[in-house]
Point group: C2
Chain length 352, copies 2
């Protein structure tokens, strides 16, 4: 059942039916009513393919994600899905498998069947992204590319809070277990840590890179122990959770022997053992905002262009649970006498 079936039934031209459906106000109210009625009687459903062939719009957006099983992205998907649906767009889910090449390929392909792309935690270079953005509107999440609209979850403030929290508990030597080397977020987090550490006069080390997974958290835990720190800040909750298991395995009691800080507050962070002190990120909101920004780019209905912002920054906050605690007094004394003039400079330690 096509548009011409409806046209025939009503006794008008197909173009009138088309208008009645797409530009309701450019057609007489009475005829429109008759058309709508006939359409529903015939249970007519417009063919999206035909529509996009002429209009150029596909009413769907693509969400590119490095790994769909990473719980961090669940809420992102949820947010994007919800907002897309609210705006009558379809959501295509693409997994880039943590690979820049796959990402580029998906991006190019998506440009043929989607109106826009949301790119989460992109692994591509700025150059490639700029290039791709000529093909199709893009919004990046947790990434800062010149000229590209982005939404970033800003962990800076909360990370500073976390460092103060640790310092106030007596920690003087802290490790940052970093994420993938291609991760813009990880670099930012480390910078925030360094800054806070310098200000607080605590020693901090970066170790990594690690894959942002539970599995890698196990290795990261061992690295932290090897460094001899009393507190470890992990790139994300996934790693922190893996580390928690590893610490338990090695008889290292959290938080007595080691304080642990995660990041993101994903599903599970509140019920692991012990519940994780972490940086709570508005992930779902990020998905919604990104979707809105994307749609704003191709929905400028002559509206007084609200000068759609190019960069939306979402704040995080520190959630203190049970994985952080005070440094035992005995240990603190021992450490202080052993390292009377702890360097104030942040150090970078590589792990093979």
């Amino acid at each position: 059942v096509t548009i011409s079936d409806v046209a025939r039934k009503v006794g008008v031209a197909t173009s009138t039916v088309s208008r009645a459906l797409s530009n309701p106000d450019r057609v007489n109210e009475v005829t429109r009513k008759r058309i709508l009625e006939a359409a529903s009687e015939l249970s007519y459903r417009p063919n999206p393919q035909a529509r996009s062939l002429t209009s150029g719009r596909t009413s769907s957006i693509a969400l590119l994600i490095p790994d769909v099983t990473n719980p961090f992205f669940f809420d992102l998907i949820k947010g994007a899905q919800r907002q897309a649906r609210a705006r009558e767009y379809r959501l295509l889910l693409l997994d880039t498998e943590e690979s820049a090449e796959v990402e580029a390929a998906q991006l190019a392909e998506a440009s043929t069947y989607a109106d826009g792309v949301i790119l989460a935690a992109s692994r591509s270079s700025d150059r490639d992204l700029a290039e791709a953005s000529k093909l199709i509107p893009i919004v990046v999440i947790n990434r800062d590319v010149p000229k590209l609209p982005s939404v970033v979850i800003d962990t800076g403030m909360a990370m500073t809070q976390a460092m103060h929290h640790l310092a106030s508990l007596g920690h003087r030597s802290i490790a940052y277990l970093g994420g993938p080397s291609t991760s813009w977020s990880s670099r930012r987090r480390w910078r925030a840590i360094q800054r806070a550490a310098a200000q607080l006069g605590v020693e901090c080390h970066q170790v990594g890179p690690f894959s942002p997974t539970v599995q890698a958290g196990v290795a990261a835990a061992d690295a932290a122990v090897h460094l001899g720190v009393t507190a470890s800040v992990f790139f994300n909750d996934l790693m922190a959770i893996g580390a928690l298991q590893r610490f338990a395995e090695r008889g290292i009691v959290v938080p007595r022997d080691m304080s642990v800080v995660g990041c993101d507050d994903i599903f599970g962070a509140d019920f692991c053992d012990p519940p994780l002190t972490t940086l709570t990120a508005p992930i779902q909101r990020a998905g919604e905002v990104a979707t809105d920004m994307l749609l704003a780019q191709f929905q400028n209905f002559g509206v007084e262009a609200p000068a759609s912002r190019l960069r939306e920054s979402l704040p995080t906050f520190l959630t203190i649970r049970s994985s952080t605690g005070p440094v035992p007094v005995g240990e603190r004394l021992a450490r202080e006498s052993a390292a009377p003039a702890a360097s104030k400079d942040a150090k970078r330690v590589a792990v093979p």
Copy 2:
């Protein structure tokens, strides 16, 4: 850049280009090579909309899920996404918001832009599903609809194992905290429990329905306590995890005072406190299999029809962790004298 640009450049008809791209073996090898070359020089990309307009195929399938944030579905999404990609299909993700109406609407719409639909944990009636399957090929997951291809995760065997496990630990009174009343899976689980209970001579009660969420697990925990059972089997891990938190809150030590069994073995089941004894389900595999079954329906390339199976059953197994343990001897004696002739019949208890 369209197909005719390529045709002009090579000096052939558009149809030849089309063939070279779609039916490579129906065109001379030399010309095909020249066409492919020209295409890549012009960086030609076929227009999927135009293609589907004529061919009728859209190269995309839709995955309908009651709630994208439910971790159970993460792996399902992963499996479907992966397999779709491998078969060069796009995956549209649709959230039905646990509602039969939304599901029906999405299903109808999807039939206009997708080649097929995977329907996970459908909330619709058999009748509606049969109706919908006339519009578009459907594969259902965890559901049994006459004539519709399905993949079910069969928890029956593992549930029996779990009951044996509990019985061997001395439990004689067990609660099943059920899922949504529309959940086919929940009904099946209860049946398996009843059967095993009868065989083992243990008393069992069903309580519910509950929403399959952490939040509802809290309420379910209280219901289990109220029943005075020594072991609770939850519809899924989400509920079990919520219950674990509630038990801790109320000072009920798991597994000393209460044994807890979950279902699915989702992300988190292994690191909650205590780690959950649960029925491990091959969820990702289910997503892959469902995708395969769906694609098989419209990819019958004249192949000797392998009589594609209508029902694929995936086994689960019992994973014993730390949330189940023996009934304390004192308590067992007390119970036995208090209820010397415990009923062998399963009882259903409603909770307001």
